[in-house]
Amino acid sequence: MSESSPLLWMKGITKVFPGVRALYQVDFQLEEGEVRALVGENGAGKSTLIKILSGVYQPTEGEIFLNGKKTVIDHPSDARKMGIAPVHQEVNLEPYLSVAENIFLDRQPTNRFGLIDYKKMEVDASFWLDQMGISINPGMPLGMVSIAEKQMVAIAQAVSLDAKIIVFDEPTSSLTQKEAENLFTVIRKLREKKIGIIYISHRLEEIFRICTTLTVMRDGQVTGNEKIENVTTEDIIRMMVGRELKDMFHRKRCYVGDPVLEIKGLSVKGILNDIDLVLHKGEILGLSGLVGSGRTELARAIFGDLPYQKGEILLNGEKINVHHPSESIQNGIALIPEDRKEIGLVLKQSVMKNISVTVLKKFLKFGFVDEKKERKFASEYIRQLAIKTPSPDQEAQFLSGGNQQRIVIAKWLATNPKVLIIDEPTRGIDVGAKSEIHELLDQLACKGMAILMISSELPEILTMSDRVAVMYQGRICEIVYRKDFSEEVIVSFATGQKIRPLQKDVVVC
């Protein structure tokens, strides 16, 4: 540590919202070239702190110093001018403009007639992208590039704006392993440029890889400031939740039975190619692969949301034809989608209505929904799944990510499914709630449910699955059995580095 003042010092920050104290006396420091992890459960105050730093909120109490100079950040545009650049979870860029136009948004280079000089702009954009070692065609419309590349564009924009501090909020949540690796390389480059980085993530293994220091928050206060080499996963989790957590979750692994769902030669033009898959009673089959490899599409095809041209789906040995999710429900197939807020739930409806929507028929009395029965039913699920809500009538939008996920699970368990497809079961959910959801999935498998679990998180895939099907470019390129489980094996198949003719699918558990 140098004797000079830190790049950023947020001193004694308190933020009070009507009825809630979101932050209390938070001290936060960042040095040049430091990558500081900011961790904490959802609601711990991380986003509030970042919003204060980026000028969205004003602190109720406390001061902010940039390079030792007291600073007031009134507005996000102020923050930008001072060199503070947030790279958001859902990147806010213009999909119809090109990559270059996005980098130079509202400060495009002009020629002598005052018109935008597109050539110069693209050359300049390439310059900044090259500096970061990013290879994207700057003329490409942003809507055509992947989420990972959009993030890179946002980073290039920040660097070109001479950012001093870059904030990453869950940057890898929608990235594949390989894309995340690229991001880490870029972050290392940013460090060399003496940029201070705040890195918010729920993925602890990432933090150990990329961060140099760590700040842990809990209930609006800082509970720890450590050098990364001085802490272990257990330490971090303890600081986050204030209680010891047993390592990662361990599955009971019960009996695996007969095939429930069989997929034979399923093909969707340009997306899925000749998919063969068998899912057994009591089994959790992990589905791994890069984003865009067809994982989610396979789930949608089974659920009747994506029409397929070839192949068949058998349920308990009988061929089924599903053209709409309503038919899947009748067949006992449930899909818990990746995008909980937009597809899984109706955020503005009550917890009760969200849970009961799939089974309203159960409560009919002379053709009308009997709300008493409905409420009783929903309350039972709220209790069983320990959904934390002040009442069944609370709107789903006000609950935390973990509790929202439980509502979606409840909604589908209510249909009594034989097959449960769950896409990214714990995305954006904090550590404590995560293992509780894992435990729930384990219990369901033990009760004989056949579970197909899609996940981008390798630790989740490895701890939860009985077998793992790895997808690559619309095909299932390998089924990995438990005895062969390792991150390397799955990554090498998922990235297409290793391709082997698929052996016939047999169970060995």
Binding site: H324, K348, T358, F368, V369
Partner: protein, 316 residues
């Protein structure tokens, strides 16, 4: 306590406006607070009310129908033309209703198949329906031929209130019960909030949306019959302006233009507010131009308030 009142006002602001307007009316005009005047107000809004029931249901699903005004014309014209060509009461009425349902069918079909913007598609069909009306009527006024038909518009139930009012109120209450208490109704709200989530919950989104367009066409057709029976005659642009009015009263009652929120009982309140305002303007002998200004102001206020409240609900 204050918070509960505040919440109540945010959720049901319209009742307060209605109470205020009625007290104001009682204060400024001696004729206003009489049962005869109230019967008149109800009668004057019943046509609009029947349309608004359909429009409200569409709004709940996040859809619009701007063609209702000319459907009113079309159904009246169809009925009168059938009567002129010798059809009996039942056939002519069925014909008028069918005309409305057919246009609803067309709207629904186009919107679901092409995923085009509902507002613009129905404006388009609206222009087409108007031209059909012009061709059928040759731009002249035509008169209903069957006297019994006129009861629908002018008749009173045992000399108390008009049948058309009873039809409107019954429909509004009946539809409200369906909206709140049946799976069909509950599904409409989900579609309005989030059609994608609705589909992933197993709701046949397109089928229900289609049904609601049919219903809205039916309501507009029925309103056309009532209007024709009231005046005994019909012209090509008989219902002009009712598309906007039906939006005003729905939103005035508290149904949101953003979908997922509202109900037909609310629409009754909205209708009464508009009815009382125009009744007061007439009682006070205010010119037609000024009445239009008042309507414009109410429309803008209501639409802006809906936007602001939506923003509040989101941020709360």
């Amino acid at each position: 306590m204050l918070q509960t009142v505040g919440k109540f006002i945010i959720n049901y602001p319209s009742i307060i406006i209605l109470v205020f307007l009625i007290s104001l009316g009682a204060f400024i005009s001696p004729v206003f607070f009489t049962s005869r005047n109230f019967v008149n107000i109800l009668w004057s809004v019943s046509v609009l009310g029947i349309i608004a029931v359909g429009q409200t249901v569409l709004l709940i699903t996040g859809n619009f129908d701007m063609s209702v005004a000319y459907i009113v014309g079309l159904s009246g014209i169809t009925t009168v033309m059938l009567q002129i060509n010798g059809a009996n009461l039942i056939t002519s009425v069925a014909g008028g209703l069918a005309a409305g349902v057919i246009i609803g069918f067309l709207n629904g079909l186009i919107i679901i198949r092409t995923n085009a913007n509902a507002f613009l598609v129905t404006l388009g069909t609206s222009a087409l329906v108007y031209s059909i009306n012009l061709i059928l009527t040759q731009s002249k006024t035509w008169y209903a031929q069957i006297d019994a038909f006129l009861i629908l518009g002018r008749g009173k139930f045992y000399g108390t209130i008009h049948y058309s009012v009873i039809i409107f109120l019954t429909m509004a209450i009946f539809v409200q019960i369906i909206l709140r208490r049946t799976i069909f109704g509950r599904s409409l709200y989900i579609i309005g909030h989030n059609p994608k989530a609705a589909k992933y919950s197993g709701i046949q989104v397109n089928r229900l949306k289609f049904g609601v367009y049919l219903f809205c066409g039916f309501c507009a057709g029925l309103a056309g019959l009532v209007m024709t029976a009231r005046t005994g005659s019909t012209v090509a642009n008989a219902g002009v302006g009712l598309e906007f009015d039906s939006l005003i009263v729905s939103v005035l009652g508290g149904t949101s233009l953003f979908g997922g929120k509202g109900g037909t009982i609310r629409t009754i309140i909205g209708i009464l507010i508009l009815g009382v305002i125009s009744n007061l303007l007439i009682l006070l002998n205010i010119q037609y131009e000024a009445q239009q200004i008042a309507k414009g102001v109410v429309f803008l206020t209501v639409v802006c308030a809906d936007g602001i409240l939506e923003k509040k609900r989101r941020s709360s």
